[in-house]
Each structure stands twice: as C-alpha cells, then as structure tokens.
C-alpha cells in the first residue's frame, strides 16, 4: 500500500516536504512492478525470436487463458500471505469447490449460476475452517493448512470416488473457448475483476487497511482496537473464495470438473501460488500487498512456461526453472530492499 507524498505543509514547518523528484523516479524504477514489466517485455522479445509463433493469435489466446487462472491462484495466496501466514490448501479448496459445482449441476440439477455461487461459498467456508482453527489454536497457518489440505482433498476423493463430472452445461466450455477481439480470453476479465476488487479493498476500505495492519504487527493492531482474529479469518475466507474462483475458471477451460485437475492434494498449484505474490513484492512476513505485482508475477511465470514449452523443453526442466526463479526472486527482493534501506527510501 502506498500513500502519495504530501506537499510541504504550512508555515510552521512541522511537516517538511522537500521535493525529491529524482528519488521518486529512482524509486519507481526499483519497484517490483517495473522490474516485472521489463522482464515480461524482455522475455516476450526473446521468445519471439527463438520460437515459431509465440505471438500467434492462438498462442496469445491460450497464454491468456492459463495466465488468468494463475493470476487468480496467486491472488488467493496473496490475501493470506499479507497476514504473515500462508494457505497450502489453495489447490485442495479449489478442487473441492469445482467438484461441488459439478455435483450440484449434474447430480442435484441446480441451475449453473446457483451452482457457481455455492461453489464459491464452499471455498469461503473451507477458508473459514482454516482461519478459525489457526486463530483459535494460535498455531501457524502453515501447519493448519498442511493438515486441511490432506483432509479436504481426502474427503473430496472419498465423496466423488475420484470420478469427474463431464456433463456440464455447454455454457462453461463456451466461456472457456470464447475469444474477445480474436486473442483475449474472457477469463482474463474475471481475474481483472478480482484484482480490481482487491485493489479497492486494500486502498479504499477500512477492513483492507485493518488486514494490512494486523498482518504487519498483530499485537499493535490488537492494541489499537482491531479485532485481529476476526480479520485473519476474513483473509482466509477470501483466500478460499478466490481459490474456488480459480478452480471454476479451470473447469471452464477444461469443460469438466476433474479431481486431479490440480494434481495430487492440489499441490500443482503451490509453486505458482507463491511465485505470483513473491515475484510481485508481497512480503512473506505480512503487512504489505501488491495486487498489480502479483498479477504481473503470475503473468511472467505463465509466459516463461509457455515459451519454454514452445522451445520444447521437458516439463521437469520447467519445474526446476520455476523453482530457481522463486529463489532468485526472493534474493533479488532482499537486495532491492537493502538498497532502498541504505538510501533511506524504503
């Protein structure tokens, strides 16, 4: 969250505002957001030269479809990371929500909008379980969500007998295949809406500010009149709901709700879930969020994956590469932060 600089204030000189234009510019060049945009442009050019058809309409469309889901996954993790916690169960919650949606449509016969809303509500409810347990026990959400990841996924496999729901209404698949202006997937719009909502939340609402304050220093927030426990539960519920959205978008892309769509225990989502926020400059210790950064981070990762696949690198190489990227991002961020602290600009 950033506040615009105030102009010099009053003749009393209490709030002395020296214009620092050059440092403001330097500060912008040192933001994660700028770094990510530069990397995205750089890699896009590199892939354009190195591969066939990186900028083809088909590739851009499929890139956008995947990026949309990855952005949503990144945001689902980010909203909990700002509390200084994490949510290892994003994938498990997502799959549970998607399977619930499929069940409600195919078995119960509910109309699809109601099924979607119910699925998102279930995501929020599972998030509530994570948040409530973590707040009540005082244990770190790492251990709580590690446990619930297995629990949620196990129960889901038991209830569905690991079978997919493939007879979904055609509107799902149609939405997943739809093209705007020939290259954009409308799924990107869904992610954009989620990002705008979060931007609004953190910058323009009381509860969003309370989330950041509680994440930065829970004791101080509590002693300033913020109900930290309740705020943390909200964050987990938001995470669950966003994870459910991500899974429903995946359903639209696949045209079916499949238990294995996020891998065993939903673990396939974890790397991307952390890469987005961390590349984007969200502090793992909490208290600082960057919605734009998370979106750009998730987009960069998607682009790299897609480009490397076009270069016909093996899937395992890409996984290793993404792991390296995560490590590099954390180290870069540390260096950047030290630099800013040295120059007294942080």
């Amino acid at each position: 969250m950033s506040y615009p600089d105030l102009p010099a204030k009053g003749p009393s000189g209490d709030i002395v505002g020296k214009p620092r234009r050059n440092t403001a510019a330097t500060r912008f060049y040192l933001t994660n957001e700028f770094g990510l945009i530069a990397l995205i442009v750089l890699f896009a050019l590199a892939f354009q030269f190195a591969t066939d058809g990186f900028f083809s309409p088909f590739n851009l469309f499929s890139l956008g479809r995947i990026a949309a889901v990855n952005i949503m996954i990144g945001l689902a993790m980010m909203v909990v990371v700002i509390t200084g916690g994490l949510n290892l169960a994003v994938g498990a919650i997502g799959v549970c929500a998607a399977m619930t949606c499929g069940y409600l449509i195919e078995v119960v016969g509910l109309p699809w909008p109601i099924a979607i809303l119910s699925a998102v509500a279930l995501g929020a409810m599972l998030g509530f379980i994570n948040g409530w347990t973590s707040v009540r026990t005082g244990l770190h959400s790492f251990i709580i969500t590690l446990a619930t990841m297995s629990i949620f996924f196990g129960v889901m496999i038991f209830l569905t007998r690991a079978e997919s729901y493939r007879a979904l209404p055609p509107v799902f698949a149609a939405f997943g295949r739809m093209k705007l202006l020939g290259i954009f997937s409308p799924l990107l719009l869904v992610s954009l809406m989620a990002a705008l909502f979060l931007g609004y939340l953190y910058n323009l609402t009381a509860v969003g500010r309370e989330m950041l304050a509680a994440g930065a220093k829970p004791e101080a927030a509590e002693m300033s009149g913020i109900n930290v426990g309740r705020i943390f539960i909200y964050c987990h519920m938001l995470s669950g709901a966003l994870a459910a959205c991500a899974a429903l978008m995946l359903v639209a892309r696949n045209g079916a709700a499949i238990p294995s769509m996020a891998g065993q225990l939903g673990q396939d989502w974890l790397l991307i879930a952390f890469l987005g926020p961390v590349l984007g400059g969200t502090l793992l210790t909490g208290g600082k969020a960057s919605v734009l950064g998370t979106c750009l981070g998730a987009f960069l990762v998607t682009m790299l994956t897609s480009g490397l696949l076009l270069l016909q690198l093996g899937d395992f190489w890409i996984q290793s590469f993404l792991g390296l990227l995560l490590l590099a991002a954390v180290l870069m961020d540390k260096t950047r932060r030290t630099f800013l602290a040295r120059r007294n600009m942080a």
Partner: protein
Amino acid sequence: MASEIAFQATGIEKSFPGVKALKGVSLTLKTHSIHALLGENGAGKSTLIKIITGVHHPDAGRLILEGQEVHFASPREAIAHRVGVVHQERNLIPRFSVAENIHLEQLGASLLKPVDYANLNKQAARWLEALGLDIDPRTPVSRLSVAKMQLVEIAKALSLRSRVLLLDEPTASLTPSETDLLFSFLRKLRDSGASLLFVSHKLEEAQELCDSVTVLRDGSNACESRPMEGLGRQDIVRLMIGRAEGDGGWRKRDTPPGVPPAIELKNVETSLGHANVNLHVRKGEIVGLYGLVGAGRTELAKCILGQFPLTAGTVEIDGKPAKIRSVGEALHIHRVGYVSEDRKGEGLVLMHSVLGNAGITVWRPLSALLGFLTDRLVRHKVTPYIEKLEVKTPSLAQTVANLSGGNQQKISVAKWLAAGVKILLVDEPSVGIDIKTKAYLHDLLRELADNGTAILLITSDMPEMILLADRILVMNDYRLQGQLINDGSYAGMSEGIMNLIHRSEAA
C-alpha cells in the same frame, strides 16, 4: 588514585544514508573513573558506542586504547581488547542457562571438546555473587525477570574482565534497590581501576554516579570530558538541548468535587491476580498510578481493556457498568484509549507509514458504506494532530520505523487524540524519549485534562508522576496500597509513595 587516560576517541565522524550521525566527536575515558555520556535521543550516543565497540566503523577519526591506535573490525575484536559493552537491547539467548549466557563468548574452546559445565557454573556463580544476585547459574534465562536479565547481561560484560566497560542505559528496567546495588558495584569496579562509560536518560543517576561527563547534541560535542563537579542539573540540560528546560512545573488544578467519575473500578479482581481494586478518575482529572516494575499496573490497564478477564467487580464508564471485551470495544463504544509502554511491540506498526499509524483508530468510524475510505479523508482527520504534536517527519508517507523514538511516541499518542477518546490510559509516556519531547508530552497531557479528558497515568518516573498527577495511587503486588493528594513537593510526595510501598512489604 592515579588516574590516567584509558581510552580516547578523537574527531569521530560517521554518516548513515541521509544523516550525518556524528560530526567529529571526541571523548576521553580515564582509569578509576565513571564517565557519563549524555544527550537527547538521536544525539548520537548509541552510534558512538557502536563505533567504540566495533559494530560500526567510523568514517573519520581515531580510537586510541592505552596509547595505541586501534581499529576494531568486529565486536569480537573489541572484546579481545577487553572493551566490553552492555547494550540497550537484550542480547541473551532465552533458552540457555545463566552460566552459558555469561560465558557465551568464551564457550567454544575447541570444536569437539565438551563444555566443562561444572567450571562454567562455578565461574558464573562468582560474578553473580559479586553483583549480589541470588540466582542458580543453571537457571534458563527465560525464567528470569526483565531486571534480572539486565543484571545477567552486566555480569556477562564483567566476566570478560573489561578494562573499558560501556553501559548503555543499564538501569532502564531496574527497581531503585537493584539500581543502588548496581551502582555500589560499579563504584567498586571503578576503584579497582576500570574505566566505565555510563549512558542514561536519568540525569539524577548520572550526577550521583559519575565523576566526569561528555554531552552530545546533534552529533557534536556540547561539552567534552569535563568533570561533573560544579555542573548542576540545569547546566546539563542546557548543554543537552541548547537552552534551559521550560519551567513546566507542577500547578494545582482544581477538579470540582461534584464532577462524576468518567471511569470507576469497583472491587475489581482479575485473572492476573489483582484483588480489591477500587479507583476512579473524574473528567478532567489526571490520576497517577505509581508502583515498581512488576506491581501490576500495565496488567491492570490491559484488564480494563478486556485483554484479560475480570473475575469479580465491575468497571463503570460514565456511571454505567461496562463490559469491555477488546480494545476495539473500549475505543469505539466507550471511547477509552491506551498509550502502550511498549511502543515498538504494541504501540505502532513500524513498517507502515505515519498516516497508516496515526489513522488506525479512525478508520472504522470514518468509513462509509461498505467500508469505503480514502487516504484523503484519513489525512484530513489526522493531520491537525500530527501538526499539533510537532511530529518531525518528511511526509505522512514516511515509514514510522525511520523516525526517532520521540517522534514515534508522539504518533502513538496522536492516534488516540485523533480518535477523540474521553478516557486515556497512558503507560510510561516518556520511556526512551528526550527531555524536549518529554516536556512537550507533559504539557499536552495537562492540556488534555484541562479540556475534560480523564487520564490515568502509569509511570515509574517519580518526578514525572509528581509533576503531572492530581492524585497518586500506589500499587504494589497487584493491590492498591493507598492514595496521596499531590501537593507538588518532590520530597514529601516521594516519601509518602515509598512509605505506602514499603508498608505493604513490611506487612
């Protein structure tokens, strides 16, 4: 006593990004002497100490130890030259035993050789005994009180047999009797030939203990290594702040007896062990709650705020019983605010901006439908208080961690003023802040009371208490011992307070 120069620092300069912390500071320490290093917050005392002990490297200037110029690349080298330090912050490992902590620097004799614990404990016991500490050296440090930890830290510095020993605010968390004990020990150390540097915010202590003094102001010497003799308190203050201390004396304030209590505690018992607590604070009144460290005063404030449950009795706000379950309820329903003694832990979100901290209490009341709230609105609400308190910050966007202690404290007060509380619990308002800010906060508290705020003032600083309070309640061991009407005379009041405390100890 032949006193010769033990250590000399000349023309020390040190810049940090954006600030020149030291601009050519000099200091001379002699053997058989305790030297006071005084100055306001941000004057450069801690920086100088860190340079002398090898934590920082000076940009210019020389360090001379017993006639030889030295360059300490790390704190370890300083220790090897027998320059010891007790830092302001705790540097103990809580789960290690007292003996292990004392000998931490000397444990690793060889990689695989087992540590000789019997010898270790015996050595540690010697140092503890010298300090008059009755602790088993095998006790884990985490089980000690804060004051005892401080003493263990001093024992640790002593065990290095330092020739030059620097003490950065060693008495901050000690009770008067512990302080006396420490002082008599430091004097013994001085007589045996050591050279000590003593940093404190408490001028009375420095005058009592030290024989020479160096005062820093804004990173320069306001006076360099002159004898303490002949310097009065006012002289020192003038050196520290560059002008005389404002009179800021006590004045009698009349609260009409008819005014009903704004907050009243009736027969309160708490889960923390308070029993039979009866007190009230009327509108416009400043009631002091005095006690030694660990008397249960902060704990009582936290119980009032609903952090710990009451087991009996009632809290009444404006004559109506109030059940307060959280600080949020205290603030938004009952208009009760709490300025925490622990600024860094509970008072402020250090990594957030000035605006984010000062506005934290007004977000909820200011927010419109769906919690909608702009920075503009918060800024509008908060700026008058930031200006009124003369917080020195480049902008409202500045990270609070980058401000000085005094300015941080102003912000942690400003946020409650912005919230417009009617009852303010103030816990140790002047811990670690300089004289100027302290006088300023005192004026502010008086002004608040004059305008009708009920203030419960918790402080261990007796002069501060006698300066501000209308009535003084004395707490010891989680019980109220009695009440004194403040008449502003230091001697009479402090004696009365001590009598109340010791009456309970005698009983």
